[in-house]
């Protein structure tokens, strides 16, 4: 260990190599806290070349490398399953250039998501993908997970906003894929690296597409007596051809938690609210808003409130983005699922998911990207109760199986990681998975980079997962 520490210190400096078990504890999981595992060592490089040198050391010593951004991931994507060298990009956080004329921004991968938009704001531009953790999560982590956020309904997910990447391949080679200009002229390698969860290499720089800030907004809160009425409104808004910038749903349990935490004035007797945001040029927005309100009222909305100024809008969004954090008031721990379903099936699936949670004796909160059909059922539990943990795991798997039966997906924006790798067989055939593995072999033939993720046939999925869960609860 001492020689490894020394070798890595030569590359990144002694203060950027962590081996103390107490320090390593901060890196034993991401925001998916059910499973934990200590890395052998943590490094904090500042440059792409340093990442490449670290990876070469890992190759020489036959150690895995695990890329990690801010650790806000929700699927165990940065879990050091078998130890290894964890490469945290948090010191690679510089915005390298903003080219307003061409709507491009280049940043190191450890740059925090919201810092991209802050850098672009003087030019009336922003980086559109806005995960709820955007104040902490890194753009490199967003690339790994193809992260979304509330406003991806209109503006698209991470892959729609990345035109170039610098990455270190698992053998230590530095490659540039794409750049500031469009059309790669061959296979879309950037498109497939985005969302690959750090299993094809370590992204160290990104070229992001910037989007004009909307000239005007209309932000509405529609309040419903039943969850069914709210979800029916969502389906009808989409079917009517209204594409809001965002269309979010929060149910009663979430409203209780948000009110207790922040006191925004949400109605505590409502079963659900929809947060609807329309944006664009000012002209026409009032007509669009009237159409949206009419659909909500035709589905028995009790009331629709319109944010009167930017402050009210900011409050509504703060409530939405802090909602899962606020749920901490209701239970010691929670697990957020991320299944996706066709939007016309929302009412049916939410009812079924509620029944699943009820059957396992669990409380279920819903706060999700309704316009995308991207559910976030949040199961509340006490992580010191092993029986409850097992029930949570089973209920979560059943909810995801329900999404698949409806023709949906295991994950809309959180990724597979270690959390859902055991379920990939339910969504994909052996030929589908073999094809994915072929791609992985082209980039990462030795499974050096972020092993034991995504694929259901990893040793981890079968043998280690349960064993890893147990010590996690004792911590």
């Amino acid at each position: 260990m001492q020689s490894l520490q020394k070798e890595l210190s030569v590359i990144v400096g002694a203060d950027a190599v962590l081996t103390d078990p107490i320090q390593l504890r901060a890196y034993d999981c991401d925001a998916y806290t059910i499973e934990k595992s200590l890395p052998t060592v943590v490094t904090l490089p500042q440059e792409t070349a340093q990442v490449a040198e670290i990876v070469k050391v890992a190759n020489r010593l036959d150690l895995p490398v695990i890329p990690r951004g801010a650790g806000t991931g929700l699927s165990g994507g940065s879990l050091a399953v078998n130890g290894g060298i964890l490469i945290a990009t948090t010191r690679m956080n510089r915005i390298l250039s903003v080219d307003a004329r061409n709507r491009r921004l280049r940043a190191q991968s450890g740059a925090v998501n919201i810092h991209l938009s802050k850098a672009a704001k003087p030019f009336n531009l922003h980086y559109a993908p806005d995960p709820s953790s955007q104040g902490a999560c890194t753009v490199g982590g967003n690339v790994a997970e193809n992260a979304g956020g509330p406003h991806t309904l209109k503006y698209g997910v991470t892959v729609n906003h990345i035109t170039g990447l610098t990455m270190v391949l698992p053998d230590g080679e530095i490659v540039e894929l794409g750049d500031e200009v469009e059309d790669p002229g061959g296979c879309d390698l950037v498109g497939v690296v985005v969302g690959s969860e750090g299993t094809l290499g370590i992204v160290t720089e990104v070229v992001a597409r910037l989007t004009p800030l909307p000239a005007a907004y209309r932000t509405l809160l529609a309040i419903f007596e039943t969850l069914d009425d709210a979800t029916r409104s969502v389906s009808q808004l989409i079917a009517a051809g209204i594409v809001p910038a965002a269309l979010e749903l929060m149910d009663k349990l979430v409203l209780e938690a948000v009110e207790a935490a922040f006191g925004y004035g949400f109605p505590l007797d409502a079963e659900a609210v929809l947060l609807i945001e329309l944006d664009g040029v000012e002209a026409g927005l009032d007509r669009l808003q009237a159409q949206a309100i009419e659909i909500c009222h035709s589905n028995h909305a009790r009331e629709t409130r319109i944010a009167r100024d930017p402050l009210e809008r900011a409050k509504l969004w703060a409530a939405r983005k802090k909602a899962i954090g606020a749920l901490g008031r209701l239970a010691p721990s929670c697990v957020t699922q991320d299944g996706v379903i066709p939007r016309a099936r929302l009412s049916h699936v939410l009812r079924e998911a509620g029944e699943i949670a009820h059957n396992y004796g669990l409380r279920l909160a819903n706060v999700f990207h309704a316009g995308d059909g991207n559910l976030h059922p949040v199961l509340l539990f006490d992580d010191s109760n092993p029986d409850e943990v097992e029930r949570v795991a089973k209920a979560g798997d059943e909810i995801l199986a329900l999404c698949l039966r409806e023709g949906g997906s295991l994950s809309g924006e959180h990724g597979i990681g270690t959390e859902k790798c055991g379920l990939m067989n339910a969504m994909f055939s052996s030929a589908d998975l073999e094809t994915m593995r072929m791609l992985k072999n082209a980039f990462n033939p030795d499974d050096r980079c972020n092993p034991e993720k995504i694929f259901p046939d990893t040793r981890y999925c079968y043998e280690t997962k349960y064993a890893l869960r147990k010590p996690a609860f004792g911590l």
């Binding site: 059309d183 879309d188 390698l189 497939v192 000239a215 066709p342 949906g408 980039f443």
Partner: protein, 403 residues
């Protein structure tokens, strides 16, 4: 019919065997045979057979891009035609998602979508011939890419058959999915070299209430860049932002002047506000005939240039490039996206275009090159992409039967 053809007709039926292969020629070489399967299973069986006899295969959609990247073909045994796989498999208007076989052409799909007041906001050349699979495989886009993105941005899922004959799927038929690798995005621009796309799931859009093409002329390219630069910084949201040289404008039926074209869509009052806003800022914007856009899109095909390059540039450099290349032929830029189509008909002009582009363009793609330019490089990808793509191809198509 010889025994070889009988073997193929056992897979695709006698109606699926095409013996008149001249229309399927690539680089003036006709295939030995054409086959037109009707199912993914038939494609798998065909590719297994092709692997068995090491028969090189080229997949044909509408044939609009089949020549691209294939300037010289040593051996070309089979053309695999997708024209009998052209059905809509699933369309959920309420969910704005459609799944269709890859051989369906864009125009036919648009006709179905329009019945439900929906559209796929793509405008590549020749929509009546361009197939969905071909558009994805060639990553071909038109002027609307500025506002609506490139084909990959609307591709949610895909079914395909790898070069080794194995059928697989990627993605999910919902508007968001991050489960596993997005192989369907990798196939964008793969030009049939990794596998054959059999089915695509696409995110469609509501038809806008109003969509209008507007334009204005300028005297110099520096004025064009000044206008584009200001428009890109304004709160307007055009679907397209194109720049035409005088020859291009004339081919589109417009006065032979440097011309900026922009399409605005949405609510009537939003379209009106945007065009009025530009006029209030002093831009002499005029409504343009709708057919101009279609004429421009199909121009390279109808005109059959000696050399047609697609250059990837910075948006801010587009006007200056056109200034430099003025006099070589037609220059048609999706200027907001930095994509410049440069077409030359005279040999001297084509040399000038090629020499400058190959020396200075960040990237280019050769879309058409006739004698004596037929051996020029098909494209300029970066070195890293080329090496990685080769490694992927050796996995997906180990015998390299897909040309």
């Amino acid at each position: 019919m010889d025994s070889f053809c009988q073997g193929l007709s056992a897979i695709v039926g006698s109606e699926g065997v095409i013996s008149q292969t001249e229309p399927l020629a690539i680089a003036e070489r006709s295939p030995k045979i054409g086959v037109a399967p009707q199912s993914e299973e038939e494609i798998s069986a065909l590719l297994e057979q092709a692997n068995g006899c090491k028969a090189p295969v080229v997949v044909w959609g509408g044939g609009t891009e089949a020549q691209v990247g294939r300037s010289a073909v040593d051996r070309y045994d089979w053309a695999l035609c997708m024209n009998r796989m052209d059905a809509i498999l699933d369309y959920q208007p309420a969910d704005l998602v459609v799944t269709a076989q890859a051989g369906m052409n864009l125009q036919t799909l648009q006709a179905v979508l329009s019945e439900y007041q929906q559209t796929l906001p793509w405008n590549p050349p020749q929509p009546e011939r361009s197939t969905l699979g071909g558009i994805i495989a060639s990553a071909r886009s038109g002027s609307w890419r500025f506002g609506h993105g490139v084909p990959r941005d609307r591709l949610l899922a895909m079914r395909a058959v790898r070069g080794d004959g194995t059928a697989f799927k990627s993605g999910a038929k919902v508007v968001k999915s991050v489960a596993g690798f997005d192989i369907h995005r990798l196939f964008c621009g793969s030009r049939g070299t990794l596998g054959i796309i059999t089915e695509v799931t696409l995110k469609v859009a509501p038809l806008p209430e109003r969509s209008e093409l507007w334009g204005m002329t300028v005297d110099h390219y520096d004025l064009a860049e000044a206008a584009l630069s200001e428009w890109m910084a304004m709160a307007i949201l055009p679907d397209s932002l194109d720049l035409l040289n005088p020859d291009c404008a004339a081919r589109g039926g417009l006065p032979a002047k440097i011309t900026i074209l922009a399409r605005f869509s949405g609510f009537e009052e939003a379209v009106r506000w945007q065009t009025n806003h530009l006029k209030e800022r002093g831009y002499a914007l005029q409504p343009m005939p709708e057919e101009v856009e279609m004429l421009l899109q199909d121009m390279p095909v109808l005109g059959d240039p000696l050399l047609h390059l697609r250059l990837s540039l910075k948006s801010s450099d587009t006007a200056a490039w056109m200034d430099t290349l003025e006099g070589t032929g037609i220059l048609y830029a999706h200027a907001g996206s930095g994509i410049l189509h440069a077409m030359a008909w005279e040999e001297a002009h084509a040399h000038r275009l090629a020499d400058y582009a190959f020396a200075h363009a960040p990237r280019w793609l050769t879309l058409r090159a006739r004698e004596p330019f037929h051996h020029i490089a098909p494209w300029k990808p970066d070195a890293h992409s080329r090496a990685l793509t080769q490694r992927i191809k050796s996995q997906f198509d180990p015998q390299s039967i897909l040309l």
